[in-house]
């Protein structure tokens, strides 16, 4: 099930909210868990077993780690402390090996075997392994939980089903944000819900839904029209069309992904969970380092806290810092998908981060702020080309095409028409990815409060917006299923 489907909105979410708010508060977690398991099982009940198992492993290991730590509380001799540490470490390693092993098996086996097959002709056939939905997200959530217990930052969850609730919660289970256990640990047991929270959650959810249904899907359709799906199609593309198509893709990927995070954060807030922000207007970044502080924040902080800092971070010798960054960015790329282009994409950012660290940052600081913004946008834009094309042949062809090689010319009428047909969408998206909207909203509120003691007009608009956005999104979602059948027979 995806958030942007009619079944999810009008059956699943509707039933979920109604039951949640009408049932006695003591059963609310059970309601959430039941709904989450149905949500996850919807994509294939067999993968539910995997999720249940991975949670079981993490729950068990965390309890053992805590038990070992408690046995060792108080003053210990050096030897005993060492023994306790090795006990704790044993359970941590077991958990990491099992979780990462399963992730690697489902996500990367095909990639590795495919490469072996390509280079050495062995194995003869590469088996097809279906990726269980959300595995990249909930594996990381569970890892963060066990590591945090190991570090003594949080206490282990004694109830299996509550940990399962955390990992499977349908708000964030399949597409993030990667919520840390410590963020929601207290809220699992006790949540205060105010009308203000629910209203905020509803606003956030409907903005996310509209972002996805009205903007991201439309941008995606334009990108698909302009960008070739395979190398041979380059002959009917134009150079300007490729640049324009990539621009729409750049919008798609942000609007789509951040829309999911908005909806997750919104749905969480409706029932009292406060998830951390996952995006902070990344296309307003002033450098690549800044971009990664604003883009998929939950993933970059995960790699920072669980890979980069444990490796020594930047408090080690210079060559080690470079090594640590290389590891983090190769992993970041690889996490996005089991394909070389994602690794290249990660390393591409590594190069710019290194450049910034040793050279560019100082230059950028001296120049007007606009230069930094343009530089970051251009680098990110070009990065999306690597991200878009999994087939390296097509990737090369498109890069060539963008330089005018192998296309049907610089531009043609068709490209011009696509541009005209989507001109307002393009302008609107340019505005939507900036802080302009929220700035305007704040400004209007300030003006309203200045002119009226109670700004009823603003309140009415704010109250109406979510319902209107929901209606418009519903239309767009039905519209997306428009699939006329050109008959020829009756």
């Amino acid at each position: 099930m995806v958030f942007s489907s009619l079944l999810f909105i009008f059956l699943f979410l509707c039933a979920n909210l109604v039951i949640y708010f009408f049932i006695s508060p003591q059963y609310r977690n059970q309601v959430l868990l039941t709904f989450s398991l149905i949500f996850y099982g919807w994509s294939g009940p067999k993968y539910l077993i995997l999720l249940l198992f991975m949670v079981l492993v993490s729950w068990f290991c965390a309890l053992r780690i805590e038990e070992a730590a408690q046995n060792g509380s108080g003053r210990q001799s050096g030897r005993r402390a060492l023994m306790i540490r090795s006990q704790k470490r044993k359970w941590l390693i077991l958990d990491c090996v099992l979780l990462l092993g399963l992730l690697a098996f489902f996500k990367y086996t095909q990639f590795f075997l495919g490469n072996l097959h390509f280079f050495f002709g062995f194995p003869k056939e590469v088996p097809e392994i279906v990726l269980p939905i959300g595995i990249s997200f909930y594996t990381f959530q569970l890892l963060s939980y066990v590591v945090d217990v190991y570090r003594g930052e949080i206490s282990a969850q004694p109830h299996y089903w509550k940990l399962l609730l955390y990992a499977s919660l349908f708000h964030q289970c399949i597409a993030g944000p990667i919520v840390r256990y410590q963020t929601v640990a207290d809220e699992i047991d006790e949540r205060r819900i105010t009308p203000g929270d629910v209203a905020y959650g509803i606003r956030r959810f409907s903005v996310g839904l509209a972002k996805k249904a009205l903007l991201a899907n439309s941008c995606n359709a334009v990108a698909d029209t302009l960008l070739p799906a395979q190398t041979a199609q380059l002959s009917s593309s134009t150079t300007a069309g490729l640049w324009l198509g990539m621009l729409f893709y750049m919008f798609t990927i942000y609007l789509d992904f951040s829309a999911y995070s908005d909806m997750a954060i919104g749905m969480g807030r409706m029932v009292g969970f406060h998830y951390l922000e996952n995006f902070n207007y990344p296309y307003m970044a002033s450098s690549i380092q800044d971009f990664w502080r604003r883009w998929h924040i939950s993933l970059s902080t995960f790699f920072r806290d669980y890979v980069y800092i444990p490796l020594g971070g930047n408090r080690v010798k210079e060559w080690k810092v470079v090594r640590n960054m290389l590891i983090v960015w190769a992993l970041t790329g690889f996490w996005h998908g089991a394909s070389w282009n994602y690794i290249l994409w990660g390393l591409y950012f590594f190069v710019f981060l290194i450049l910034e660290r040793y050279f560019l940052r100082k230059q950028l600081e001296r120049l007007p702020a606009a230069v930094g913004h343009i530089y970051a946008l251009v680098v990110v834009y070009l990065g999306w080309i690597l991200f878009r094309f999994e087939n390296l042949g097509t990737l090369g062809a498109v890069l060539g095409g963008m330089l005018g090689i192998g296309t049907a010319g610089f531009s043609n009428l068709a490209t011009g028409i696509v541009f005209q047909n989507n001109l307002f969408l393009l302008i609107f998206c340019c505005i939507a990815v900036t802080t302009f909207g929220s700035w305007l909203h704040k400004l209007l509120i300030r003006i309203a409060y200045h002119n009226h003691r109670i700004p009823y007009g603003m309140h009415v608009i704010d109250a109406l917006t979510p319902a209107v956005l929901l209606l418009l999104s519903t239309m767009a979602l039905v519209g997306d299923s428009y699939n006329p059948f050109l008959y020829f027979r009756f």
């Binding site: 079944l7 009940p45 067999k46 199609q233 009428l413 005209q420 969408l425 009415v460 699939n483 050109l486």
Partner: protein, 458 residues
């Protein structure tokens, strides 16, 4: 009011409006939820899209385990959501805000476009393996093809054709045009199939190939076609004809249609040609066959207005809606009766030109020869010379066949999409004088169609 009271009042108002917001949102969500549960009012077909909507999936254990069953339910829920057509209209109104849409390009993907090879100045090449004497033995190449399986007809080929027509539409001045991309391999396959049929029927049945342009090639300015990046339909037809051997009688229709481009020879809202367009092609065919064509003014006419065809259906464009077509027909003199056999094998009597005044507005092109059926027969009682012909066609052929009625005693019409028999054997069995293949280049030049036809002449 003190500052403290004012803050309190503001906070109370904010809380009140939070509640209103929640109630409004939940109301929409609940109403939407209840409407979604009203299963009896869910539509089963969409008139606007002219298709049967997704059915509730059948339960299978494997489908349950791998999630197919549930994804089937999701699709069913969305596809048959009540008031679908109204919501869709809303969605299209939103989409119109995306930009300036007086001219539009509607497409889902860029395409593969082959260069059309130059035709050498020398005459058409000799067949690679010319039969030394009259023989019906197939050429070796054709024998090798025996092992090739024939691509499925029916839905599979309908889908391929639909994609061809539906994708990449250019809408300007109230009419839609499909963008054509040349596919060299398909042209080769198609031309080989024509040559093979002609070789095997040599001496018994004349094989005619009529390749016609669509409205893009026939009507649109060359400069616009080039600017859109279309392949030249004129060159593609010429090249495909060039590949056929001399046993195939090719009918040059492109130039004639282009000369008449200012007349109503193609529909604006549909991909087909009009019967007038087909008339000009018919005159060319008569010239190649060496018979005199009948003047269109000697026929009775009937017209049906308000036609909103395939282009309108696939785009729902308001530009097209404002430019509905009229289907003009000329009724054959010899007979207006025919019979056709449906896919399920049942045969019905019908009319060559049927009165479709009461049909839905998207279906008016079906006035010609009962629309698309695997097999149809027209017997002209006014001709008693035993002459017969076989027409192998897709829907473009429908407007053409009525012009042939007054030239043969019997006309057999086979639609290659639904007819699974062999065309050559059929022509032999019926001792047909002529076997006419009539296709739009945009369809003949697509691999699915070319392979299907090639498979059925093997």
């Amino acid at each position: 009011m003190t500052a403290k009271q004012e803050i309190k009042k503001r906070r109370q108002t904010a809380h009140l409006f939070h509640r209103i917001q929640i109630i409004l949102f939940m109301a929409v969500l609940l109403i939407g939820g209840i409407i979604g549960l009203l299963i009896p009012i869910r539509p089963e077909i969409s008139e606007q899209e002219n298709r049967k909507l997704t059915e509730f999936p059948d339960f299978t254990f494997s489908g349950f385990l791998n999630g197919d069953y549930f994804s089937g339910i999701s699709t069913w829920y969305a596809d048959t959501y009540p008031f679908r057509d109204t919501l869709m209209a809303g969605s299209q109104a939103i989409n119109r805000l995306h930009g300036l849409q007086t001219t539009q390009l509607i497409g889902t993907n860029t395409n593969i476009k082959d260069e059309i090879p130059e035709i050498p100045d020398s005459p058409a090449p000799a067949p690679t393996d010319p039969p030394a004497e009259e023989t019906t033995t197939p050429k070796p190449a054709a024998t090798e093809k025996e092992s090739v399986s024939v691509p499925d007809g029916g839905t599979a080929i309908e889908d391929a054709i639909r994609d061809k027509i539906q994708n990449n539409l250019y809408i300007a001045n109230g009419a839609a045009y499909s963008i054509f991309y040349f596919n060299k391999e398909a042209s080769n396959t198609y031309a080989d199939a024509m040559s093979s049929a002609a070789d095997r029927l040599k001496g018994t049945t004349d094989v005619y190939s009529i390749l016609l342009p669509d409205s893009t090639g026939a009507i649109l300015d060359k400069s616009v076609q080039d600017a859109m990046g279309c392949s030249s339909e004129q060159d593609a037809i010429a090249y495909t004809y060039y590949l056929m051997n001399e046993n195939v009688k090719t009918v040059p229709v492109f130039d004639t249609l282009r000369e008449h481009r200012n007349e109503y020879i193609f529909f604006r809202t549909d991909h087909h040609w009009t019967q007038l367009g087909a008339y000009y092609a018919y005159r060319q065919w008569a010239a190649v066959k060496g018979v005199e064509s009948h003047d269109k003014d000697s026929f009775q006419t009937k017209s049906f207005s308000g036609f909103l065809g395939s282009y309108y259906q696939s785009t729902n464009s308001s530009e097209l809606q404002a430019n509905a077509d009229t289907v003009e027909t000329w009724i054959p003199n010899g007979t207006n009766k025919m019979s056709y056999t449906m896919t399920d094998g049942t045969t019905r009597d019908w009319y060559v030109i049927n009165d479709v005044s009461n049909y839905q507005k998207h279906a008016l092109y079906s006035c010609f020869i009962a629309g698309d059926n695997p097999y149809s027969v027209i017997k002209n009682p006014k001709i008693k010379d035993g002459s017969s012909c076989v027409v192998v066609k897709e829907s473009y052929g429908n407007a053409f066949v009525p012009w042939l009625v007054d030239h043969y005693q019997t006309i057999y019409v086979l639609d290659f999409r639904y007819y699974d028999g062999n065309f050559v054997s059929f022509a032999k069995e019926k001792k047909a004088n002529d076997l006419i293949f009539i296709n739009a280049i945009s369809l003949a030049g697509s691999s699915a169609v070319a392979k299907r036809i090639a498979g059925l002449v093997q």
